[in-house]
Amino acid sequence: MLLIRIAEEEIAALYLKNKIMSFVHFYVGQEAVAVGVSDNLHLEDRAMGNHRSHGHYLAKGGNLRAMICELLGKEKGSSHGKGGSMHMIDKAVNFTGSTPILGSIVPLAAGSAFEQKYHRRDSITAVYFGDGASEEGVVYEVLNLAALFGLPILFVIENNLYSVNSKLRDRRSADYSVEKIVSGLGVKYLKANGNDYEDVHAQAGTLIKSIRAGHGPSLLECITFRHMAHSAPIMDDAQGYREEDVLEKRLQEDPIKKVKTKLLSQGIKEEELAVLEKEIRAQVSSDIQFAISAPYPAKESLYTDLYA
């Protein structure tokens, strides 16, 4: 979690220095979701994400250096500079892709689970998407398909209360119930506090156990706070759209602060955590320095990889 947070902080700083020409959506504040889910996944399990997937990628074990290179458009990036921030992939750890068109990753992830079922694999697929994406028609279609085919897939909705800045109440009737919709389609549903690592970890664990036992798809809805703006390296409270999740509340509910408090209560010393943080920051800085000095892709590569 701390790695994701520090990496995002450093990338935000880099972004403000104008080094990054790849559209970036920061994950700060939502770390408990990716880490809480991923800590229940095995290496051979697959995960897929969306436009806001730095956290999903790193939580699955994705290579930080390749990610930063990709953000900077460098040859050593995970997609050799052709994808950028919205297209995270590291197949070595089975983070098998992320796509930014809202909801588009959901059928692709179902296809991954379809392949796992087709080849009778023991592994499962987890897919992350937001509350905005969950309103796309294709998501309803895929929930039905996944239940119909009994696919080994965990759908994770990260409900951060906004689609860009549009509030839930401007998009859904007062009677809208994710639980009823999902259950009605035959998919098991649980809700978790997405600002709380332990709760996400426990609820995801329950659902993943059910999926591994062959009981078909499940959906975990995590209520969480997006600390920063939709797609800029800044806090955006000045825009005035936030109601519940004002800055004070976000800091109070910060998932990393909560984990830290818990660790301290378990006897881990403040200094030990400081050392850990320093080490992580050094690693991130070193990867950023590497990426800054890494070469850009050859110009001819514009025309390569159109076909496999």
Binding site: G77, S78, S79, H80, G81, K82, G83, H87, I89, T96, G97, T99, I101, S104, V106, P107, L108, A109, A110, G111, S112, F114, E115, Q116, Y118, G137, V138, E141, V142, N144, L145, L148, T304, D305, L306, Y307, A308
Partner: protein, 348 residues
């Protein structure tokens, strides 16, 4: 030597599917009604019985099941997705155009999406504005797809086999108008290159470039023109993405005249692209202005009184050419059947 077998277009597609499924356990078929006894206009008939776990009927959720098949292809399966009309495939444009077509490129290579989208397309009597769109150019405009249009049963079988063996997303646009035509088709499995146009008739006076059902109408026009002393070279594009420019340029270079026949709306059609590239070629000197023949820029209506005016016919194609050569037009009225019913001709 075995007796030559004559197959219908749809039976050739069925045979190709059966044979690739027999060879490769990763191939599966998915689409609305593909498990019916005469599923997908007969092109999947009997396959559910033979491969019970690899033929999937699906809910009416084009975006969902097409995207799911793309996701399965990303993981190494080889889906054949069937859409009975292009208008239904339009509900699945995100997985086809934005996901499958970009996947390998946007992840910097090494990420193949081996999938075949079989999409029925174009004219059929009584089907009107929302069941007959000939949206060929739409797929030609998207890099990363391979787009082929089988014009005969033999082409249909060989192209489908090649499409399934390819490691990329291949769109097979199958003109519904051609489903009843027949041809001698080899029984054994064979392939036809996905990226090569073919010269169907040799000729020296003018090159006609066409594809799909436009090609079949052009083939009849070529016979009419031969009797009038005009020798046409007829090129079947086969692929519109990518286009085999070498074959087109070589032919036009030889004849010095070009006509393109499309059964799609005249704006932004395939012929426009051919004419634009030929016009820009520094090595081709056309003797006459190129001609494009296509359907008018209105939706295809339903009444036969109106559709009679809509599509290019063998006679309208031939007369365009005759005008170019300063010859008088052929006076021949086509029968109701010739104008409005799908052809049942045997090719070759």
């Amino acid at each position: 030597m075995p007796e030559p077998r004559i197959l219908k277009y749809t039976d050739a597609l069925r045979e190709a599917t059966d044979q690739v499924m027999e060879q490769d356990a990763n191939v599966f078929v998915m689409g609305l009604g593909v498990s019916y006894s005469k599923g997908a206009d007969g092109t999947t008939a009997g396959l559910k019985q033979k491969y019970p776990d690899r033929v999937f009927d699906v809910p009416v959720s084009e975006n969902g099941f097409t995207g799911m098949a793309v996701g399965a292809a990303i993981q190494g399966l080889h889906p054949i997705v069937h859409h009975g009309r292009v208008e239904f495939a339009l509900l699945a444009m995100d997985p086809i155009l934005t996901q499958a077509a970009k996947w390998n490129y946007m992840f910097g290579g090494g990420n193949p999406v081996p999938i075949v989208f079989r999409i029925n397309i174009g004219r059929q009597w009584g089907n009107g504005p929302q069941h007959t769109q000939a949206l060929y150019s739409l797929f030609g405009n998207v890099p990363g797809l391979k787009v082929v249009i089988p014009s005969t049963p033999r082409m249909a079988k060989g192209l489908l086999v090649s499409a399934v063996r390819d490691n990329n997303p291949v769109v097979l646009l199958e003109p519904r108008w051609l489903f009843q035509i027949t041809e001698i088709v080899p029984q054994e499995i064979y392939t036809i290159p996905l990226d090569k146009a073919r010269v169907v008739r040799k000729g020296s006076d003018i090159t006609i470039v066409s594809y799909g059902d436009g090609l079949i109408a052009s083939l009849e026009a070529v016979d009419l023109l031969e009797k009038e002393g005009v020798h046409v070279e007829l090129v079947d594009l086969v692929s519109i993405n990518p286009i085999d420019w070498e074959t087109v340029f070589t032919s036009v270079n030889r004849t010095g005249r070009l006509m393109c026949v499309d059964t799609t709306n005249e704006a932004f059609n395939v012929g426009s692209e051919i004419i634009a590239k030929v016009a820009q070629s520094p090595t081709i000197a056309l003797k006459e202005k190129p001609i494009s023949l296509a359907t008018p820029n209105v939706p295809c209506p339903t009444s036969t009184v109106l559709t009679e005016l809509y599509y290019p016919t063998s006679v309208s194609i031939a007369n365009k050419v005759l005008t170019l050569f300063g010859k008088s037009s052929i006076e021949r009225s086509l029968s109701f059947e010739e104008l409005h019913l799908a052809p049942t001709v045997m090719i070759g």
